[in-house]
């Protein structure tokens, strides 16, 4: 018997990565403008208006969809900048926009009633009441669930709501309920929620000191690794600190999400779409990960066993975890 087909939602940080994702079998690609309206506002990354228009047209020709992430929170006095991003995404033919801010959802639902709205993980809607509110108030059609829920909690949410759910299946982990973490603001004055980059590169420094690689963020040393250890991203939540008698990864180990083995359970929990993290990664990463997961969702749909764990070398920490989907506490 064949199972339900899951939609694979894949990242693209550049037009080349976008094409690579489509070629590798993405059903849907998500991406953002090259400014602070999206939560991956990294140097050299993202799309100009022209690039986005061409990429959407390419996706449509290949039968794929494009979601445009406008998922930071508009700055007071500058909301027009975010409104324009929504207007441009609609004009360029985006299949949906991924939004987090209530004001922006309100604007988009009124100004573009035919534009499909997805609720970003940045909105941190983690229970059925919150999700139902967004659906009722703005006509949101899909919610991207925060990476803090177990499979059982996801199933419970899906039983109570009438809109689609999308969950992260692979990539870097953001342990805090997204949209609410202030660690980056504390160390650098810049936040993923307002400026679109957690631990922005402009505040990161790597230096070899006494045979160790030391990473600093905003002047704070957050990690030291020996020559044979994997290097981590410079995010504060994955730093090594001393707290009382404990010395180590106080918040989170630098390992990445790989929930491929949970695809059957997530499907049974009523999930519609699986999302791959990594708009900041190369087209080589996009190609490998998308191809792998397309095979996994096809295998699941055809009733074949899903093979997991083939992508460890591409991940931060070079170790993977099922994250909160299978919650165990230290």
């Amino acid at each position: 018997m064949s199972a339900r087909k899951l939609e694979l939602v894949c990242p693209a940080g550049t037009p080349a990565a976008f094409r690579a994702a489509i070629d590798a079998g993405a059903h849907t690609v998500y991406c953002g403008f090259n400014d602070e309206t999206n939560a991956r506002n990294f140097p050299g990354l993202n799309f100009s208006r022209d690039e986005l228009g061409a990429s959407i047209a390419h996706a449509h020709k290949k039968g794929a969809h494009t979601l445009v992430a406008i998922n930071t929170f508009p700055r007071a006095g500058a909301v027009g900048f975010w409104h324009k991003a929504v207007d441009d995404a609609a004009r360029l033919g985006a299949d949906a926009v991924i939004l987090a801010d209530i004001g922006l959802l309100d604007y988009a639902s009124k100004k573009h009633p035919n534009l499909r709205l997805h609720l970003s993980v940045q909105a941190a809607a983690a229970n059925s009441d919150a999700i139902a509110f967004y659906a009722r108030a703005f006509g949101v059609k899909r919610v991207v669930l925060p990476r803090v829920l177990t499979v059982q909690e996801i199933a419970a949410i899906n039983r109570d709501i009438e809109i689609e759910t999308e969950v992260f299946i692979f990539g870097g982990l953001c342990v805090m309920a997204e949209g609410r973490c202030s660690l980056s603001s504390y160390a650098t004055g810049k936040s993923p929620n307002m400026n679109g980059a957690c631990s922005p590169a402009s505040h990161v420094e790597y230096r070899e000191e006494d045979g160790e690689l030391v990473s600093r963020l905003g002047g704070f040393a957050i990690h030291r690794v020996g020559a044979s250890e994997p290097a981590p991203y410079p995010t504060l939540c994955k730093g090594c600190f001393e707290a009382g008698d404990y010395k180590g990864h106080v918040f989170e180990d630098p390992s990445s999400l790989d929930a491929a083995a949970l695809i059957p359970q997530l499907a049974e929990a009523g999930v519609t779409a699986l999302k791959i993290e990594g708009r900041q990664r190369s087209r080589s990463y996009t190609e490998s990960v998308v191809r792998n997961f397309r095979k996994a969702v096809d295998d699941y749909a055809a009733g074949r066993p899903v093979v997991a764990g083939a992508l460890r070398d591409l991940t931060e920490g070079q170790t993977t975890t099922a994250g909160s989907y299978r919650k165990t506490w230290r």
Partner: protein
């Protein structure tokens, strides 16, 4: 799927010979190459934005010299330098030549090479990211860029140059064309 153990090192004998190679011809070719890149890939520089004003030390750690890249739109240069004469730079990207070429050809993922410690970055992280992302988007093929230096003779030279690049690449264990990278 690759892993760090698969990245070949430039043969030590070849590196020893290159220790005595004159650098001026390489610098002249480099200057020409970077000017041709600007002409052929304007979006690369658009993506670099203000980071195009920075100076990068591209440091193939298995070669006896490094490259000083200044992708300044008005006066771009790619100079071959001995490490001790490298002068000031804003950002350094170091790793085996094959890893650096693999990044240009989009075969390796920069973050994964960084996690596995095959790639070292120092200095201005923002500039490194901008350069890496801009290059990744261009789908550059080094052999094609080198034949483009021949101007009108480019079409005549393309096929033989590709064969020579493949041959030279296989001698030294590095892929000089995107096609070779895919088969590596």
């Amino acid at each position: 799927m690759w892993n760090s153990k698969d990245i070949p090192l430039f043969p030590a004998v070849g590196a020893a010979v290159l220790r005595f190679a004159p650098l001026t011809p390489l610098s002249l070719a480099g200057a020409h190459l970077v000017k041709t890149l600007i002409r052929r890939h304007p979006s690369l520089f658009a993506r670099l934005g203000e980071q195009a004003d920075k100076t990068f030390l591209i440091d193939p750690t298995d070669l006896p010299f490094a490259f000083r890249l200044a992708p300044h739109v008005d006066a771009p240069s790619l100079e071959t330098v001995r490490r001790e004469d490298a002068g000031a730079w804003d950002a350094r990207i170091g790793g085996p030549l094959a890893a650096l070429l693999g990044l240009v050809h989009g075969v390796y993922d920069g973050d994964a090479l960084f996690f596995s410690r095959d790639l070292v970055i120092e200095g201005d992280t923002e500039a490194v990211l901008a350069l890496r992302n801009a290059i990744d988007n261009e789908e550059i093929d080094l052999a094609t860029e080198l034949t483009a230096l021949l101007g009108p003779l480019e079409h005549l030279a393309a096929a033989p140059a590709r064969r020579v690049s493949s041959l030279v690449g296989s001698w030294f264990g590095v892929a000089l064309t995107r096609e070779d990278e895919r088969h590596a």
